[in-house]
Symmetry: C2
Subunit: 492 residues, 2 copies
């Protein structure tokens, strides 16, 4: 088979790039840093979107849409926000092209310069809070629980498909509340939704925690995150939820009249996940044969390959497959019959392995005689011949089992690379091996920066859901007292 | 009620603007020409998207995503295409802002000028065909049937919410085929999908036809369209499907090897509908009380308002409502119980009328005693008290009846404003009254331009599905012979 990919052991980074391209998920475009998401990759993203969108609606949120462009002056309104995003903005300066007077093609029309430059949104807090100003006057207008599915642009210098691209797709929730407590509860609720999604749909055992001050979103008072471990032991931040305090309400003068008539600034949150999740999904579960998709997000959950040794029997084999397919589809299982006649079964097997389809069914003439089917699992790469009786039920159960197995495999990998480290020498040695180091930290940005400088490791989060961290100790770097452990790792 | 809107008779254009804003569908943003689509408006758009997406998939299409930015030089590759779009492009020239050295805020960093300017996509033929070049080498790679849901930007000077905005949301299908016949069939199939959607979901009786050469999409050999009639007799182009020939394949050098080994250029189509459909929906069916939504696209299909004359009985009324709601939701009907206690029933009635909810149910204490409910129809503004027995079935049937009635009302309006005109004097008089004029035309761009100059009417289409047009005659303007009638109208 031509679609050989580099092995993880040989070069993990190259393995990832090969996989994304060869499995038909995405590719680089002619525009620096912008990717093309190919149909198979987009189908996975759509399944993510559908599920997340349902979870947002189930928690009371509505979708809306705000402009792609942000007036340059809006960005400056919140000091930390502009600091965080100004250096990576795509800036629209003109609104017209004209025929090149000095040669072929078109040039920017110098007469069509915008009065104020527009920034392609890197995130939408500013344009949204400028809008909320007109939506909010009384406590009766609150809360506003709005989400947007959109594209955003951050001009990254070093890009990688899905993980870091100049343009990416995401959702951004932007909520407005009457009280601080309610906003904090919302930010916590939404990181919970993300963790639930990561665990139960992506089969990713994430750690939920707070970012340190230096790792916070530009403009937030608190950033919550979910951190996943990749197979090289590195961390990948898979989603964030921010408590923004009253920063944006103050920047855009958004006040509400409370029940007792007082004028108060509104409290805010924002939260988002992006096509970066695709990178997490690929890197967490893939193997040297290709993608391994959790059934809950697989565009094709079961693929059926007829075995062509006996051409005469082929129509009967296909008949049998269609029958099973129809029953499975009634139960909401997505099935594909690969009846191509120009490639061999072995080629098909390898291709669907590469594409990570959870279950492969093969049926040949002998299976018809014996009333059997061959069932192959993508997660374990095992196969067995089973009776065709009750096959639909068996397959449905198997999908469930595979989803759990992929999660458990990732969980045991994660847990075996979650290491308590108490000395600086040990830290320097262990960080080279990869994994999450649970260490004491003295709580200062200075120590955090020093550790990063010396080891490239950052504090991924201060976990909120891991009791193993709740113990006193001494900072692994400075030796100063610490009330709890935090998670250090090198990260994507 | 405060949300008074201008009547259609008084000022149709103002009526539309009032309605869009006061029904909470959309509003202008701080960015010139860009709108904010508010949650209620977006919910309608989502229903459109869901249904269209299903229809695209049912006809074999897959979704993908291509970059927001298009290198300036790509646009120039197809001569007519650049001519059509160069004058209304948002152009990105820089990728960084910096602190203003001479004052507050940020300025564009002159050091961060892009080597080649990027255009925010006004449509994606060029970037997509540049991509297809790498996807296509053999006839086995064809057809490619891809759709993209995306935002696009066309720098319009005069904008109107939904109808014409600088940024809008749309889908654009881009297909690649081995033969001319197959590409033409695809373009026809997709205009058929749009017509089906318009008729059966939007309750819009559209006319399907070909554009004249001067009204074609920039770069197309043929443009098919669906044209809807608004209540002022003007036309609104609601969707287009283009046969692009080999123009983009030639511009981007996309060839395939045919079965017999020859190298051939690939044939193309593209097709799209946008948030403009929202404008059509509003303008076609709304009345002086507000929106009138066809049940198939209404985010809330039935609203229930408890009548508060008897506070004691309120819990029982709500109980009854919840029971009906649960039964309706099982059948896929979306229901809202408006149990707000800070506004009167009359206010609620007016608000849900404004928002176009197809059916309103009111239940009071007396209804409980009599086992009745009051059912009000938004389309006819009639109400009646009916027995609560079998109410769920009655409501489901009623929704269906309303969908049909809204369509039929629009159809009879359209048909009564579809007029055969055979003299130039008659043309000039009738065009002032509004409506679609079925006229003979000599087939020249010159006559077409003259008629537009004198009357502001354009040829909306050369219908493909209306036998009334298939007759010989003389051009209404030049008197030269004509083989068929075409549709003239003033248009949005």
């Amino acid at each position: 088979m031509a679609k050989q990919i580099t092995s993880r052991a040989e070069n993990y980074s190259q393995w990832y790039n090969d996989l994304v391209v060869k499995a038909g998920l995405a590719e680089n475009s002619a525009v620096r840093g912008c990717m093309v998401i190919k149909p198979y990759g987009y189908a996975i993203w759509e399944k993510m979107q559908r599920q997340l969108d349902k979870m947002f609606k189930d928690t009371g949120h509505e979708n809306a849409y705000f402009p792609l462009f942000i007036p340059k002056s809006f960005l400056s309104r919140e000091a930390e926000h502009v600091e965080g995003f100004a250096k990576e903005c795509a800036v629209v300066t003109h609104h017209r092209l004209m025929t090149n007077p000095n040669g072929p093609g078109v040039v920017v029309d110098p007469e069509a310069r915008l009065e104020e430059e527009l920034v392609v949104r890197p995130t939408s807090e500013t344009i949204i809070w400028n809008t909320y100003k007109n939506w909010i006057s009384s406590y009766r207008d609150l809360p506003i629980l709005v989400n947007q599915w959109a594209n955003v642009v951050r001009w990254e210098m070093r890009t990688r498909l899905f993980l870091r691209t100049a343009e990416f797709l995401w959702q951004e929730g932007h909520t407005a509340h009457a009280t601080k407590e309610e906003a904090i509860a919302e930010a916590e609720k939404m990181i919970g939704v993300y963790a639930d999604f990561a665990r139960n749909y992506m089969a990713l055992p994430v750690i939920v925690g707070h970012k340190t001050e230096s790792e916070r979103f530009a403009g937030a008072l608190d950033t919550l995150c979910i951190e996943a471990m990749m197979q090289d032991g590195r961390a990948l931040q898979a989603g964030t939820s921010h408590f923004l305090g009253q920063n944006f309400a103050k920047a855009f003068d958004v006040k509400y009249q409370s029940k007792d008539g007082a004028l108060e600034y509104v409290w805010a949150t924002s939260w988002g996940v992006s096509t970066r999740l695709m990178g997490a999904l690929i890197m967490a579960h893939g193997d040297d044969n290709g993608l391994v998709l959790p059934p809950n997000l697989a565009p094709i959950q079961i693929v059926m390959v007829p075995i062509f040794s006996n051409q005469e029997k082929l129509p009967m084999v296909l008949e049998k497959m269609k029958e099973i397919k129809a029953s499975l589809e009634k139960l909401g299982v997505s099935v594909k019959i690969d009846d191509r006649d120009n490639v061999r079964s072995g080629f098909k097997f390898a291709e669907w392995e590469l594409k990570g389809v959870p279950v492969r069914l093969a049926i040949g003439a002998r299976d018809l005689e014996n009333n059997t089917v061959e069932v192959a699992r993508r997660d374990t790469l095992t196969k067995e011949v089973v009776s065709a009786d009750g096959i639909v039920d068996k397959l449905v159960k198997l999908l469930d089992e595979i989803e759990k197995n992929i999660y458990n495999k990732a969980l045991s990998f994660r847990d075996s690379h979650l290491i308590k480290v108490d000395t600086w020498d040990d830290f320097k040695a262990k960080i080279e091996e990869g994994g999450f180091l649970l260490c004491h930290w003295d709580g200062t940005a200075e120590t955090e920066a020093k550790i990063q400088e010396e080891t490239k490791a950052t504090i991924r989060c201060i976990p909120i859901d891991s009791c193993v961290c709740q113990e006193e100790g001494k900072c692994v770097y400075s030796g100063r007292p610490s009330s709890r452990r935090v998670v250090f790792a090198r990260a994507y």
